[in-house]
């Protein structure tokens, strides 16, 4: 495990990662003669099959991902949902698990409304969404912030430790989409604080002892704000 971690290194497009007959090209690499060449910026990894793990860039839809999106257009049989990334996604009327008046589907969700949905197919230039699963549906109220989708795992933490910490400390409801859209709902102060915390996590995603930093950030804020406010009131 530790050996593998050491092998990871940042590569840039056109760089020769390794050279030799023993290696095979994986994701985002190509083989030219004996050389395995990187095709994008990221972390190179692998013993035999060399692949690149992206560390930046826009969201690429994958089947089974839970995403948060905003309705950008309405068609006669569904909604076009903006989920970040190269293409919009389509949510069909058939994929809504409740009755919707076909003559006025804007009644259920209008342009600008938010959905938490699951991707069930990825096509060449769009993705299809569904609401037929637990925890999916329209999101009412709250606010949405956007972070880099490659930093989502850090925001969630090991078995949701980080996100649960933020939820508990700020008394908010948080829903993290795998596309980097994060929906937060709570009282104004809580929402504000949760947003700041998530931004901190995204900014310091690669640093050590992140959980302690977040704990300190959340704890410190509570103690700091209260006395100041009390002084002002006096």
């Amino acid at each position: 495990m530790t050996e593998k971690k050491e092998k990871r290194r940042i590569v840039i497009p056109g760089e020769v990662i390794v050279s030799g007959d023993d290696y095979l090209p994986g994701d985002f690499t190509r083989k030219e003669g004996k050389d395995i060449i990187a095709q994008r910026y990221g972390l190179a990894e692998g013993d035999r099959v060399i692949k690149i793990i992206p560390i930046s860039g826009v969201y690429e839809p994958r089947r089974g991902n839970t995403v948060i999106g905003r309705v950008s257009d309405i068609t006669f049989n569904g909604w076009i949902v903006e989920i970040g990334g190269p293409y919009g996604a389509f949510l069909s009327l058939m994929e809504c698990p409740r009755f919707i008046n076909k003559n006025d589907i804007a009644e259920f969700a209008n342009i600008g409304d938010l959905f938490c949905a699951k991707i069930f197919t990825v096509k060449r230039n769009s993705a299809d969404l569904t609401l037929k699963s637990r925890g999916l549906g329209k999101l009412e109220g709250g606010r949405v912030i956007k972070i880099n989708p490659h930093k989502v795992p850090r925001v969630i933490g090991k078995e949701g430790s980080m996100i649960n910490l933020i939820k508990n400390e700020t008394q908010t409801e948080i829903n993290v989409g795998q596309n980097g859209f994060i929906w937060i709902k709570g009282d104004l102060a809580g929402e504000e604080k949760a947003e700041k915390t998530i931004e901190l996590v995204a900014k310091e995603a690669n640093s050590e002892g992140l959980t302690e930093k977040v704990e300190k950030f959340l704890g410190g804020k509570i103690k700091k704000i209260n006395p100041e406010e009390m002084v002002k009131e006096e």
Binding site: I12, G14, Y41, S56
Partner: protein, 236 residues
């Protein structure tokens, strides 16, 4: 008197102090700064994202949309803001210089926006812009075959020099000044952009290409180091 010694005391094949950094614009998907001495360019990349208006979409491949912009305070006399004949031309050649190495077929019907701003100008702004844009594209996780590096080669009087300044561009003695910006790809050493402003003999052009190739390898090294997290500033 012929041009034997360069005006700023550099060697014929020496670059100005380089400055290079990535991730300078947090809201962009990828961004970079690149500077040749007093010529400073920043670039931001957004996308790939859906392209509107729809009639501009290409169902076979994505497109790159470049905007080169020289900021009003970048030159000694205020540059009029907004697009000009010159900036439109440079936007176009930047697009062409980059689209050769980007895998545009991966995302048909989309656009990659590349914004280049010149913060400070002292000749070779298009080269600094292309270098910054190439770094920003890589930083944005765009799939690319290889990198590109750009450098301007000059023939001042009868001497081939690398990375010319404004003062050299205005040299009038002898044969005068010729400015040849080259953009060369990192692995195949293909020329993705070549311009020529002035006069040059055929044999000398080959000489200029050799100088450009040598300089582009040096520039690639700076770009690589910056992308790997280093903040390069040789101005100190």
């Amino acid at each position: 008197m012929s041009y034997t010694k360069r005006l700023d005391g550099r060697k014929a094949d020496e670059l100005r102090p380089i400055k290079a950094e990535v991730g300078i614009i947090p809201n962009a998907d990828g961004s970079a700064l690149f500077a040749f001495g007093e010529t400073v360019a920043i670039a931001a990349v957004y996308g790939p994202k859906p392209l509107h208006p729809q009639h501009m979409q290409d169902p076979e491949r994505g497109i790159i949309r470049c905007v080169y912009n020289m900021l009003p305070f970048s030159v000694t006399e205020r540059a009029r803001p907004g697009p000009s004949r010159r900036s439109k031309e440079i936007s176009m050649i930047t697009e062409n210089a980059l689209s050769g190495v980007v895998e545009l077929k991966r995302f048909p019907g989309t656009v990659i926006d590349v914004e280049i701003m010149i913060l400070q100008a002292n000749a070779s702004t298009r080269c600094a812009g292309i270098n910054a844009a190439a770094m920003a594209l890589a930083h944005a996780g765009i799939v690319m075959k290889e990198m590109v590096s750009s450098v301007s080669i000059g023939k001042i009087d009868d001497k081939i020099v690398t990375d010319i300044t404004k003062a050299e561009e205005d040299y009038e003695e002898g044969e005068g000044a010729t400015d040849i910006p080259f953009t060369i790809s990192s692995n195949t050493h293909a020329i993705t952009h070549l311009q020529l402003d002035g006069k040059i003999q055929t044999e000398r052009l080959k000489e200029a290409y050799d100088a450009a190739l040598k300089a582009s390898k040096k520039i690639l090294d700076y770009q690589t180091r910056a992308l790997k997290g280093e903040k390069i500033d040789e101005n100190k």
